[in-house]
């Protein structure tokens, strides 16, 4: 086995491309000093090894991880690859290097540094995906549902089954503006496609249901239990941009509108807020 530190691998940024990189590394018995994407590769004194994406190689690596390591390990690697941040390729490569040397139990050694890094990345991606299952909101435009999101990591592949399951009868689109891709679904077909930019169509239901929802949101809170800090823990502010129910709270000078007090006070505040007077 040759010693790392002499070669830099460059690939196209795709998952298959990365797996091809892994394939080459094992073939060459070389742990690369760094792994970069073609486009961002800076001129360097070190030797560059350019890797062309090879689907056959990628498939073999994927099968190898699943068979020789475990499905759980494959799952962790796949999630970690959706991580959007420096050094993810290196971390995964080092992990796989260790795992193929030490065997199928490696994925469980989350106390070790190499494993822990990949474990943390995959947990961060899962966390982000869960937030977007929770906080993605659609608006209706001529019967089609549209949503725009700005996730930290590339979560569309992870949230795809959730949405395609629950609203499989609908036409919908979720645009990840951060990564320039969209999940597009119709009852017949689903795909994740790159999109440069997207003009969101106007909602055509006149915001009727989002108004109902906002109103519901306001009245379901118990004023006596007001607890913005706890809400913030569960629903951090960076997600508020998607949520119709908290839009007005983002405006400067917002004063909480909560109903609390005695039954009589609540009744009066409801009567005052509703147009009809004849209950």
């Amino acid at each position: 086995m040759s010693y790392g530190g002499i070669l830099i691998f460059a690939y196209d940024g795709s998952y298959e491309g990365f797996l091809s990189t892994v394939f080459d590394a094992f073939l060459m018995k070389t742990l690369p000093a760094d792994i970069v994407i073609f486009d961002d590769a800076e001129p360097s004194l070190m030797k560059m090894h350019y890797i062309e994406t090879n689907f056959e190689h990628a498939k073999r690596v994927r099968l190898g991880i699943e068979k020789k390591l475990s499905t759980k390990t494959l799952c962790m690697v796949e999630k970690a690859f959706l991580f959007d941040g420096e050094g993810k390729e290196n971390a995964i490569m080092h992990f796989l290097w260790k795992a193929f040397k030490e065997g199928p139990s490696t994925g469980g050694k989350i106390g070790s540094e190499e494993v822990n890094r990949v474990f943390k990345m995959s947990t961060a991606v899962s966390y982000e995906a869960e937030r977007f299952r929770q906080f993605t909101r659609f608006s209706d435009s001529n019967g089609a549902l549209v949503a725009v999101i700005h996730p930290k990591h590339f979560v569309l592949p992870l949230i795809r089954p959730y949405f395609c399951n629950r609203i499989k009868n609908e036409n919908f689109l979720i645009y990840d503006a951060e990564h320039g891709v969209a999940l597009i679904h119709s009852p017949e077909k689903t795909a994740i496609v790159p999109i440069e930019s997207l003009e969101l169509p106007e909602s055509t239901d006149d915001g009727f249901y989002s108004r109902l929802w906002k109103n519901y949101y306001r009245h379901i809170a118990i004023g006596e239990r007001y607890n913005p800090r706890c809400r913030m823990t569960h629903m951090p502010k960076r997600f508020w941009q998607y949520l119709p129910e908290v839009q007005e709270e983002l405006e400067p000078g917002y004063v909480p509108k909560l109903s609390f007090g005695t039954a009589k006070e609540i009744a009066n505040s409801i009567r005052a807020s509703l147009p009809e007077a004849n209950y």
């Binding site: 070790s112 609203i167 929802w213 006596e224 239990r225 569960h234 409801i270 509703l274």
Partner: protein
């Protein structure tokens, strides 16, 4: 009256219900229809009081013929009344659902006319959703005490979860505060649902396509602080509800005073949020940590410790069992270490198969040492010397931020909009990592 007004009134009337969970069952709609639920559930929003909004939680109607003293919808209150038509409510559920606002519906109702009429009306909402719209999202329905068992059964075939509210922790309180309800007509449907679930389980093993009855199980709720029962009483009641009726969850709802009544706490009483929080923690100990109610609380000191969570409280009075060596302790004992939850204990078990654990590795595993450090050793090493007496222990644990912002139990009154529970407390309570 339009739907906007109805929703305002009927959300307002439903907000005191604690449960909003969408967990416990998986379903997928048939081709061409809408909806899916996953066993883990999903919170789509959090209201200003920090509670999870997973379901559209509304009453079908608040036009109640009963007169429970603690309730906003009671007959004798002068309050706007509204009733959804089944179609309105079904359509609203679908429209919220497809926009990803909710996971489904939590349908409860005041008693309109008779329990039977009310239940039939609720069945119609669920029938439209399930049969006409093919909706496979989550549905939690309230069974109405006093309704014909045949109707309750039908409701249970359409819902994922049913619940019957036990309302108050004792029969005496029920008699004085909810005069139209009796212990019998609350426990009867609970028993029916339990039997229904057990029989259904057998049917399903025999005939694969038998319709499912209440597949996400049943739950209940009781109001805490409206009546004089102690935590000791409440926790033993909870334990027996889990054991006798196989409940999935018992919810506690801190009493929010709504009216002046000689039988109720005075109108300016603040909702006992800290007490509710401690009860939830104790409830976790019963359900997931292998504790018995009698270990958590004893009749001589019948209220849970306000400043220390119940696990910590147990630990400081069992200092002889500590410190625990994380490299060798069994799962049950790890779970009893304050600060180590189910997730932490499982990670420790997994990681120590491959290497000796030290404090740095524990941190890497995400184990929070703030509490745990007092109670554990790593290969015999401690991070913190264990104080000699329980009192000193409590002092050492609490000193950094005593009180944690809680306001009941006669501490200084904070303004109404001051935080009462910290995010950390609530997270602990939701995840059970404490």
């Amino acid at each position: 009256m339009d739907i906007y007004e109805k929703l305002t009134i009927l959300a307002e009337a439903a907000k005191y219900d604690a449960s909003c969970s969408s967990s416990g069952n998986g379903r997928t709609a048939d081709e061409g229809y809408i909806g899916a639920s996953t066993p883990a559930g999903c919170c789509h929003s959090f209201s200003a009081d920090g509670r999870c909004i997973s379901l559209l939680k509304v009453l079908m109607s608040n036009a109640c013929v009963y007169d429970c003293k603690y309730c906003l919808s009671r007959r004798s209150n002068d309050f706007p009344r509204a009733t959804f038509t089944p179609r309105e409510l079904a359509d609203l559920t679908i429209e919220f659902y497809r926009r990803n606002y909710i996971e489904g519906l939590f349908l409860s109702s005041a008693v309109v006319g008779t329990p039977d009429w009310t239940t039939e009306h609720m069945i119609e909402v669920l029938r439209i959703l399930r049969e006409e719209y093919g909706f496979a999202g989550y549905i939690h329905a309230k069974a109405i005490p006093g309704a014909d068992p045949v109707l309750t059964h039908r409701l249970g075939l359409l819902a994922d979860r049913l619940s019957v509210n036990i309302e108050l922790p004792s029969e005496q309180s029920l008699v004085s505060l909810a005069p139209d309800k009796t212990k019998h007509n609350i426990l009867e449907p609970m028993g029916l649902i339990k039997t229904g679930i057990l029989e259904n389980r057998e049917d399903i093993t025999k005939y694969r396509h038998a319709p499912k009855f209440v597949p996400a199980g049943q739950s209940t709720q009781m109001i805490v602080g409206a009546s004089p029962e102690t935590d000791y009483h409440i926790l033993h009641l909870t334990e027996s509800l889990y054991k006798k009726f196989g409940l999935k969850r018992v919810y506690y709802s801190a009493y929010v005073p709504l009216q002046e009544d000689a039988l109720l706490p005075s109108i300016d009483t603040r909702p006992p949020l800290l007490r509710e929080h401690r009860l939830y923690q104790a409830d976790w100990l019963l359900r997931f940590y292998g504790f018995e109610a009698s270990e958590i609380i004893d009749p001589k000191r019948p209220m849970l410790h306000p400043e220390v969570d119940p696990k910590c409280s147990w630990a400081v009075s069992h200092l002889d069992d500590f410190p625990v060596e994380v490299n060798t302790a069994d799962y049950e004992m790890l779970l009893r270490v304050p600060g180590i939850g189910v997730k932490g204990a499982k990670r420790i078990l997994a990681a120590r198969r491959y290497q000796k654990l030290d404090f740095d590795i524990l941190k890497r595993l995400g184990v929070v040492l703030k509490r745990a450090k007092w109670f554990i050793t790593c290969s015999g090493k401690t991070l913190q010397r264990i104080p000699d007496t329980p009192e000193m222990m409590i002092w050492s644990i609490l000193s950094p931020n005593r009180m944690g912002g809680f306001t009941d139990y006669g501490m200084e009154q904070l303004s109404l909009f001051e935080t009462v529970l910290t995010g950390e407390d609530v997270r602990e309570c939701l995840t059970g990592e404490f």
